[in-house]
Subunit: 140 residues, 2 copies
DNA sequence: CCGTATCCAACAGGATACTG
DNA sequence: CAGTATCCTGTTGGATACGG
């Protein structure tokens, strides 16, 4: 029986998952995963982090211009949440008019790395997914 | 001026982001990222994929038992969406009582790999995040 | 310029009851 | 067993107006 590289990778991953699953309390929430989504499973966090990674240090309205379609309210909410989790810093300059600059922390940069990899996956898999959808929709 | 490894990695990533951002149409949605979230940004998809990766081939109610708190309706909805995107397969056995088995496709396994890496990040960063939160909350 | 406050609509998703 | 169908609630996030 032939075993492909993909097979080996899956088996490898399954072992890791086994350890991961067994590590959790039987009646406790499966936290790390839930926590990922709570961090950037919303509508704007991912885009905010990507733009901050791309632009470096950015002012509020500058960022607002870069994230197409975001409202003032949601940008504030999103940035506050990221700041609270230590993913970005917020620097206020006591000028008139006021200037506020946002920037990724080291922790934020490490998350950006992961998000980037995920974006790569999405980019590379888009075609497969679209094809699968067309087929699925044509069957029903 | 000293340049750390982290600095280099960030600069590297910024270059990649630059290419990525410039590649998109100026007035077009930033798709790959949005698409990621549409794929598993909901409440249950991630957990479903992780459990399918862990268990291999699973029946409906078996999976329902593994994903704590999910309703019958949401499991159906989640699985249908994953199936539509070609991430899992659904095999119906014409028996009485009926048996339906779900399994990750190769595409699904490749996503699982990415999710696993993300879960690792979340696991490793949890402490930092919690610390940041405590500090943030104490300041306000 | 950089927010906050308030109100409101849309939608995700839970509870329950019913079927092939 | 493996789902639908229906109803209903809570939360997300958009629009708008106002404040430091």
């Amino acid at each position: 029986m032939e075993v492909t590289i993909a097979d080996n990778q899956l088996i490898d991953l399954q072992k890791k998952l086994e350890i991961f699953f067994q590590g959790k309390d039987e009646h406790h929430e499966f936290c790390p995963v839930r926590d990922i989504m709570d961090r950037f499973g919303d509508k704007w966090s991912l885009l905010a982090i990507l733009n901050l990674g791309y632009s470096g240090k950015v002012r509020f309205n500058e960022l607002k211009g870069k994230i197409e379609g975001i409202s003032q309210r949601m940008l504030t909410v999103t940035l506050r949440s990221l700041e609270r989790d230590g993913l970005i810093t917020r620097k206020i300059y006591a000028e008139v008019p006021p200037r506020v600059e946002y920037e990724l922390t080291l922790l934020g940069q490490s998350l950006l790395q992961k998000i980037w990899e995920l974006a790569q996956w999405a980019s590379g898999s888009m075609e497969d997914i679209m094809h699968a959808r067309l087929e699925y929709d044509s069957r029903s």
